[in-house]
């Protein structure tokens, strides 16, 4: 657990440093790291990795952090000008876009509190995953 926290701290520092001058790269790194955690969660659910309660909770902590850090990484100046799959709809519906991150953070916090075993993790993880998909549905370009 301690190691995860330290790693998350390092990662947060990196994101902060990059964010100042390149929000597109920063949000891509943030999403990638969040995805890594999500993949770790999926591996436990699929039985490819043993269930670990600390790890499970840490996944939801990462997602809460993402929910806080992501919105400022979409300034008006970052609609284009880099490799981005962010759709213009984000800036047309900024209030909804940000409200979704608020909801993601709240859902991840509730999920962190609710998880006690693999079964409750599966339910909680699935619920939070719907927030991810809901936002990608509207605000991210189809990609391969």
């Amino acid at each position: 657990m301690k190691r995860i926290v330290v790693a998350a701290g390092f990662f947060a520092a990196t994101v902060a440093a990059v964010a100042a001058d390149d929000p597109i790269a920063a949000r891509r790194a943030l999403m990638k790291e969040t995805g890594k955690q999500a993949a770790a969660g999926a591996a436990m659910i699929k039985g490819e990795a043993p269930f670990d309660l600390d790890k499970a909770k840490a996944i939801f902590v990462t997602i809460q952090n993402t929910a806080v850090k992501a919105p400022p990484l979409f300034p008006d100046t970052s609609k284009q000008g880099g490799e981005t799959a962010a759709l213009p709809a984000i800036w047309d519906n900024k209030a909804d876009f940000e409200a979704r991150f608020t909801k993601l953070g709240a859902d991840a916090k509730a999920a962190e509190a609710s998880v006690t075993d693999l079964a409750s993790f599966k339910t909680a993880f699935g619920g939070v995953g719907k927030d991810c998909g809901g936002c990608h549905e509207t605000y991210r370009l189809k990609k391969q």
């Binding site: 999403m31 955690q37 659910i45 490799e83 995953g129 549905e137 370009l141 189809k142 990609k143 391969q144």
Partner: protein
């Protein structure tokens, strides 16, 4: 040229024109399934629900901008290179939906792509895939749709420009791209594989988006499932042959269909999000069957992507 020979030429021309017109007429006549072709049957509403989810009906026909996938008032705009289609109301509303349709009307629509008025539907309605569904599954689906709430409100007409708006011509399109064959199981394959093949190629209609299309809007058969440009606009639809997802296990594919989560932890977006909402309602066994079939698709190279780094 003598007068006599000239007459023959004119006559031959007339005959060719008449034969051509007759051929056009025959080829483009919308086919129907008459009520007399439907034997007595007690439909299963439960199986109808499964078929509703497998078919992804809600993806296009649920009213946009509200959360209830069972409110099938339609209205979703579906852009395409030929114009914009608007998903019709298929709720059981008698005025604006399909409340007055007979069972034969519905079977004809789904299996033949022909409306109760005897017109061809545009293949934005994925009947090139639906035609492979079994008659009993389609009848069950109809019975299930009848249990849903009626939604009032007619959907606006499609916005399709000449010449594509001539529905009669779609008979020619069907002649080229519809085989009219029901799904035939492969006895050499497992039961799960056959179930998966049936769901993926029939009601699931995966190939409709995950395949490149030719200039006439038909699926390029040799590149079925190999992905291509997003027919609805920007972006790219992924290759789901083993060329594209060779490193996904069957379990990974089934998990993806349930959750929308890819092996790298990404959560899928765009219209696939709606597809996942349908797939999530299926049984584990059905999702696994689809995974078994998809995993068996030989690797096929898709069309070349525009020179731009893949966003990953």
């Amino acid at each position: 040229m003598s007068l006599m020979a000239g007459r023959y030429v004119v006559l031959a021309g007339l005959v060719a024109a008449v034969v051509g017109a007759a051929a056009f007429w025959i080829i483009t006549t919308p086919s129907v399934v008459p009520a007399s072709a439907l034997p007595a049957y007690t439909p299963s509403i439960d199986n109808g629900r499964t078929m509703f989810n497998a078919g992804g009906c809600a993806s296009c026909h649920a009213m946009p901008g509200q959360p209830d996938r069972l409110k099938l008032g339609g209205g979703l705009a579906i852009p395409s290179p030929f114009g914009t289609f608007y998903a019709p109301n298929i709720s059981p509303d008698a005025q604006d939906g399909i409340g007055r349709w007979s069972e034969a009307d519905f079977v004809t629509a789904v299996l033949k792509g022909t409306s109760p008025r005897g017109e061809h539907y545009f293949p934005a309605f994925p009947y090139p895939s639906y035609q492979h569904a079994s008659l009993s599954d389609v009848r069950d689906l109809f019975a299930f749709l009848k249990t849903l709430p009626p939604v009032a409100g007619k959907v606006r007409g499609h916005d399709v420009a000449f010449p594509f708006n001539i529905r009669r011509d779609l008979g020619g399109w069907k002649f080229l791209f519809l085989d009219g064959k029901p799904f035939a199981p492969d006895p050499a394959q497992s039961e799960a594989w056959n179930r998966g093949a049936y769901l993926v190629n029939g009601l699931g209609h995966c190939a409709e988006c995950h395949s490149p299309r030719n200039l006439l809007g038909g699926i390029v058969a040799a590149q079925r499932f190999a992905g291509g440009p997003n027919p609805e606009g920007k972006g790219w639809v992924p290759n789901i042959t083993q060329k594209g997802i060779g490193d996904w296990s069957e379990k990974t594919i089934a998990y993806f269909l349930e959750t929308g989560e890819t092996p790298d932890g990404d959560s899928v977006g765009g219209s696939m999000t709606r597809v996942i909402r349908n797939m999530a309602e299926l049984s584990d066994a059905d999702r696994m069957a689809m995974a078994v079939y998809l995993k068996s698709l030989p690797p096929v190279e898709g069309p070349p992507k525009p020179a731009q780094p893949a966003t990953k």
